[in-house]
């Protein structure tokens, strides 16, 4: 295949990135089908979502960022001025490190040890009373926190720090993946709908309306209750039901973009619809996509926590919502089990909100950062 030939082919599909995407996507699909119908597990369901997200992000986010380094630097300067955003970014980085390397330093979060249950964090002490049915008296035992379990243990003796670390991983994964799905879907629908207009727009917007009018949380609970809670499924469902806001926002932005001169010029030059959408419109809404994505992640994380809290979370996975659920029962005696994940959730959500806001201010040409 000559260089010219490749370029021509790329032109037909709307860019070289798309050219690379097609074979990768087909490979992904084939592997998935193979996995479902023929062979024993190749990848876990979550793995497939990661692969898909990874491919898309690599091609459409990392690569463009790499090629336009000066632009990235410019925006980074603007973001840096917003101190809250930088703090948020720092915290998120800390979380990522915690999630990746934490498990190496902490014990197994599912290892129950009833001898050491209900231990308070370091520096606190608590008492536990066991009833003796024979005498009708209580035997009280005082425990104080130790560095062996810096954040204490829950009522099964599991190390809280280990559970928090595991929960960090879960929240980040869910946040990333579910948002990824929602944003990808929403962007696609939003851009296509706005650009093609007319009947397509009408149908797609009606469809979006239907999805939007479904009470979101109710729908979530509903589907998971019927089909069973597994993490991959929860991620999928949150993603597939949360794209409507994204679609609307992207659509209005695209609507204003499509009347701009550079689009008209591309059209005049004979570019195909596909090329215009993928090579011109999408890259220009990228900044909006990034902001929306960052601001959607907290919502997704809270949705997963809420689901775990009401008992619809994946029981095989230790997530912050699950810890909260167990902990809120005994808030008055083992307060640390509920307080710590609550604080972590709070800080994580806060961090993403700050970063998202900061990004938005940085990308907004009108604001004088």
């Amino acid at each position: 295949m000559t260089k010219k030939g490749i370029k021509q082919l790329a032109g037909k599909v709307g860019g070289i990135k798309n050219l690379i995407l097609i074979p990768l996507a087909t490979l992904w699909l084939l592997t998935l089908l193979l996995d479902i119908f023929f062979v024993e597990r190749i990848f876990s369901p979550l793995g497939y979502l990661y692969l898909a997200l990874g491919i898309v992000v690599l091609l459409y986010v990392v690569w463009p960022l790499y090629t336009s380094r000066r632009l990235v630097q410019y925006y980074w300067q603007r973001v840096k001025r917003n101190r809250l955003a930088v703090l948020g970014l720092g915290f998120i980085l800390f979380l990522i490190l915690l999630a990746i390397f934490g498990p190496l330093f902490t014990p197994d979060p599912t290892a129950a040890n009833f001898e050491g249950k209900n231990m308070p964090p370091v520096g606190f002490s608590s008492e536990e009373s066991i009833y003796n049915a024979g005498t009708g008296q209580f035997i009280t035992k005082a425990t104080s926190g130790s560095w062996e379990h810096p954040l204490g243990t829950d009522n099964k003796g599991r190390d809280l720090l280990a559970m928090i670390v595991s929960g960090a991983g879960v929240s980040l994964q869910v946040g990333l993946l579910a948002t990824g799905i929602a944003v990808a879907l929403g962007t696609l629908i939003g851009v296509v709908s706005a650009y093609l207009g007319g009947k397509v727009d009408n149908i797609l917007m009606r469809f979006t309306d239907i999805m939007m009018t479904f009470p979101f949380f109710l729908l979530l609970v509903f589907i998971i209750f019927i089909f069973g809670p597994s993490l991959a499924f929860i991620v999928l469902v949150i993603g597939l039901t949360g794209w409507t806001g994204v679609a609307r926002l992207i659509r209005s932005e695209t609507l204003s973009l499509r009347t701009r001169e550079f689009i008209l010029a591309a059209k005049a030059l004979g570019a195909s619809d596909g090329r215009i959408i993928l090579a011109h419109l999408v890259p220009n809404v990228v900044s909006l996509i990034v902001v929306i994505a960052t601001l959607s992640i907290p919502g997704v994380i809270l949705a997963e926590a809420a689901l775990s809290f009401i008992g619809l979370g994946d029981p095989a996975v230790t997530s912050w919502g699950m810890i909260l659920r167990a902990g809120q029962q005994s808030l008055d005696i083992t307060w640390w089990v509920a307080v710590v994940p609550g604080v972590m959730l709070f800080l994580t959500v806060l961090a993403f909100n700050f970063v998202g806001d900061g990004l938005r201010d940085a990308f907004d040409p009108r604001s004088s950062v």
């Binding site: 949380f217 509903f222 808030l331 609550g342 959730l345």
Partner: protein, 325 residues
Amino acid sequence: MRKTWLKDYIIKRLFYAVIIAWGILTITFIMVRVGPSSPADKYLANLAARGEEPAQVIEAIEARYGLDKPLHEQYISYVGNLARGDWGWSFSTSMPVTELIKTHWIYSFQLILLSTILAALVGILIGIYSAVRQYSKTDYIATFFSFIGISIPNFWLGVMLILLFAVQLGLFKTYYDTAVPLFSLANLKQLILPVVTLGTGMMAGYTRYTRSAMLDNLRKDFVRTARAKGLPETTVIGKHVFRNAVLPLVTIIMFDLGSIVFGGAYLTEIIFGIPGLGRISFNAIFADDYAVVVAVTLISAFLVLLINLATDIAYAYLDPRIRYD
């Protein structure tokens, strides 16, 4: 002003609304009935102990509630009854669905109304202040404060508030008492904690929107003109800038009111023991009570659609540039 196209547009939208609502109704109906669990599940353990055949028992229970007929028959009779005002019988609570909704919606509504007002009030004020004094220390603090609201998981906040204010300090009752008359001060008092819990979560949206809308408007020429005219700053901001931002804001408020009546406040309701529609609908899901689930989803959807339509119409009147066709 004359908008001849408006009537056609409204009719078209109403038509769409009916179709969408019907679509939602059908999808929900199918989803509930197709699920693997059945209302007879909770009988199974009990009854098998007596040597009954589970299959026969399930059949009997379902016959009691008319669930044994084929799906399309159930659907047709359900829709038919719907049209006649009979929304079915909720077997998990043993009462007609219309009764159930009528008795409980007010609890959700008052909670959402007050929360929205609180959130809007505080959020807007913070937003205005933040826009006017952009990048000052107070801007950061105020924004930070509204962010806190949205970041604290409201189910966690609720539990903490009860523990602190109701149990430790004894300022409030530990649960919502429905014996208290609805339009009384005592009722308002016991709504304080739940409203704070729910409202703080909604605040940041208003703050953000107000802030950006105000910022947009503050740079416009008419503001400079107003200032040049010598008007006091408060009039400039309060009367001119704010008024331009208010209509979309009201839209957001109305949307919030309509869309979370049925389910968004669920967690708050469960923690504070408020018997609102959120709890009812979720319990119905867990009990497989399809009549309630479908009814609630339908009403919720219809509300949202109507509000959307009302908003679009209001916009058409207020912004002469807008035209839908």
